[in-house]
């Protein structure tokens, strides 16, 4: 699904990622954890194509193609979905329109016709229940005036409608109380399948109590310094990040 090799990325002159390697197979859930400033958000931004980052070395191969050559929208249409840490408010554009336009853009890319209006409404109403959101959210402007928890739920709703192949969750648990976290986690878990992979980027172990990863990686100083199973997360929770950083150094 995704192979990242020796990835180096700079912001301006400053190197942030310094030789990152990561391999994700279909259906796997990977958690990348790390202290602040380790390069976690940079990783999600580079993968989704946000401007402002220079990749100076290395490669990212997604389904056999060079992901880094694609425009952000082409990555999205190819099935890479980024759930934002800070979802953007888009006043004046309704939530349901964005969902429909995004789905149709993706379908067009796949050579399919536009989704039938009634089918679409049924689909969205089905998915919105999953996230325990009120239907009125569909008709509000995208994220405008949403609470932190509502914004994160809305991100997962978009993922549920678009059915991506690779779902990158950037700090999806930050700013959520435990009830909201459970709802978001249930939504994510319902999306898990043998073909769909997840890359969860998180600072806290708490999320992993609700979304069980297959692999846990520690990102420090721009590289993966340690990888393991779910037990690694518990160890990190107990001991903090410093011991891994020391080991790596």
């Amino acid at each position: 699904m995704l192979t990242i090799e020796n990835l180096h990325a700079n912001v301006g002159e400053k190197p942030i990622l310094k030789g990152l390697n990561l391999h994700i197979n279909p259906g796997e859930v990977h958690a990348v954890m790390g202290p602040n400033g380790a390069g976690k958000s940079t990783l999600s931004h580079v993968l989704s194509g946000k401007s402002g980052y220079d990749v100076t070395e290395g490669s990212v191969i997604y389904q056999g193609n060079n992901l880094l050559e694609l425009e952000p929208e082409m990555r999205a249409r190819e099935g890479v979905f980024l759930a934002f840490q800070y979802p953007v408010e888009i006043p004046g554009v309704s939530n349901i329109y964005l969902l429909k336009a995004a789905l149709n853009a993706m379908r067009k890319h796949q050579g399919l016709g536009e989704v039938d209006a009634m089918d679409f409404l049924m689909l969205v109403k089905d998915k919105i229940k999953l996230l325990q959101m009120d239907e009125k959210f569909l008709y509000r402007a995208v994220n405008e005036g949403f609470s932190g928890g509502e914004k994160k739920r809305n991100e997962i709703l978009q993922a549920a409608v678009l059915e991506p192949k690779l779902c990158i969750l950037d700090e999806t648990d930050s700013g959520l109380d435990i009830d909201a976290l459970k709802i978001v986690a249930d939504g994510v878990n319902s999306l898990r399948s043998a073909e769909r992979s997840f890359l969860m980027i998180t600072h806290y172990q708490r999320l992993l109590d609700y979304i069980k990863p297959d692999f846990v990686h520690v990102l420090a100083h721009g590289k993966i310094v340690k990888s393991g199973g779910p037990e690694l997360a518990l160890e990190l929770e107990e001991k903090g990040y410093s011991w891994v950083e020391e080991q790596a150094a």
Binding site: R77, F81, V88, P91, G92, A101
Partner: protein, 443 residues
């Protein structure tokens, strides 16, 4: 120089054209026009050396030598009636003026409450001259600038509305102005007089065929105590047209005035919305100007807080593409006695090309010491975070930018609550939006 020449020529032609202006038998009106003419003769047309005209050069108007109204002017001769049907909102009362002339057969005023007067200015001068006399020149003075004086001297028609005390017009009145007389100069004078505790909503649509014409509209809106008036201007004049429209409100205590200004058309358009607020009066001024090609759209607002406890809210947004130029000058004046004034003024501009220009100048003049006045101005491009967000949701960059630009403009359309009016404004916006592929379904 050309200013002087143009002024002299208009003055020389005045005696010939004035004979066909309404109100010939009213000495007070003859006097009113004579004073205005003297004022115009002294000041001429506005000049960029005047602070309030520094961003708008009207010399093209002077060079153009438009033909002022004469009795032989073209009326509703060859207008396709479905051109008007496109402009008329069915759930409102309608007054239609074509080339500045009242067209009875297209106007519909059935069911207007008793006591309410809605008629052409020439009719009002015949039927109710004292009432017109009492209002004319109340809310704006000829000294303001040359176009006002010109209008006072030359106005040939207009709309007169009087809503008596405690009367509520339960549906809006639409005034449809349509122009297709090449090189015509039409000076129209309107009075909207809303008496104590009365309410009215007036929609002004300005449209025209693709010919150069110049319409000079001056509206005096007089609100008595506790009156409420909403004026919506939708200007989709032809792209060769010159448009001046000034709406001057005088708001007695506790009155509420709202003005929504959609300035989409014209080669050169200048809008003025001025209001004087007496005790605890409220005003809300909204504007959206959309400039394309080489359009120049100037919005000049002045909110004069004369007494205490008045509230003013103002939001103007501009979207400027290609070589268009948008101007916003917003002045808020708080008099010494206007304590507890609460005022907010904002102007936001999006520039879609490197050649587009926005000139914005908010001005606060505060002479009272216990007031709350805020203002903000932005000129810029779209938020790149939002563009990326939409791209990450499968939208192309172009589509993302179009959506965000349209959403920015649409905020002003969404302030319109009357459904048919909202849909009409939205349709005009979609038709004239500078970007391709913009859809109403986004909203």
């Amino acid at each position: 120089m050309s200013n002087d020449q143009a002024v002299s020529q208009y003055l020389a032609e005045y005696p010939a054209s004035s004979a066909s202006l309404p109100g010939q038998t009213l000495p007070w009106l003859q006097q009113f026009r004579k004073q205005a003419l003297a004022c115009f003769s002294t000041h001429g047309f506005p000049d960029i050396r005047q602070e309030e005209w520094r961003y708008t050069n009207v010399s093209a108007i002077e060079k153009k030598r438009f033909k002022p109204f004469t009795s032989t002017a073209q009326g509703l001769t060859n207008i396709d009636s479905h051109v008007l049907d496109e402009l008329v909102l069915q759930d409102m009362w309608t007054v239609v003026l074509v080339n500045g002339q009242f067209v009875a057969e297209h106007s519909r005023l059935e069911g207007v409450p008793p006591g309410v007067i809605i008629c052409s200015m020439s009719q009002a001068l015949e039927d109710n001259p004292e009432q017109v006399q009492a209002q004319l020149g109340q809310a704006v003075s000829d000294d303001e600038h040359g176009f006002i004086a010109f209008n006072s001297a030359w106005f040939s028609e207009g709309l007169y509305v009087h809503v008596p005390a405690n009367t509520v017009l339960e549906k809006p009145l639409q005034v449809v102005h349509y122009f297709d007389d090449a090189d015509a100069l039409l000076a129209l004078r309107n009075v909207y007089h809303v008496d104590e505790s009365a309410e009215a909503s007036i929609v002004e649509t300005f449209a025209g065929a693709a010919q150069a014409y110049f319409s000079v509209n001056v509206t005096e809106a007089v609100l008595a105590e506790n009156a409420s008036l909403s004026v919506t201007q939708i200007q989709t004049a032809s792209d060769k047209a010159y448009h001046f429209a000034g709406c001057y409100a005088k708001q007695a205590a506790n009155s509420r005035f709202r003005h929504d200004n959609f300035a989409f058309g014209g080669l050169l358009a200048r809008n003025e919305i001025h209001t004087q607020l007496f005790k605890a009066a409220e005003c809300e001024l909204n504007g959206l100007y959309l400039g394309n090609k080489r359009q120049h759209i100037d919005n000049h607002t002045r909110i004069n807080h004369l007494e205490a406890h008045a509230i003013s809210r103002e939001l103007y947004k501009g979207v400027l593409a290609q070589r268009a130029r948008g101007v916003f000058q917003g002045r808020v004046i708080v008099a010494e006695d206007a304590q507890k004034t609460d005022s907010e003024m904002n102007n936001r501009n999006l520039l879609l090309s490197e050649d587009a220009e926005a000139d914005t100048k908010p001005q606060l003049e505060i002479y009272a010491d216990d007031v709350k006045c805020a203002h903000g101005v932005t000129v810029g491009q779209l938020d790149e975070k939002s563009v990326f967000y939409l791209q990450s949701r499968c939208m192309s960059e172009e589509q993302a930018r179009n959506m965000l630009t349209f959403a920015f403009a649409n905020e002003m359309v969404n302030k319109i609550k009357h459904k048919s009016l909202h849909d009409f404004v939205l349709k005009q916006l979609l038709q004239r939006f500078p970007q391709q592929g913009v859809e109403a379904a986004w909203l």
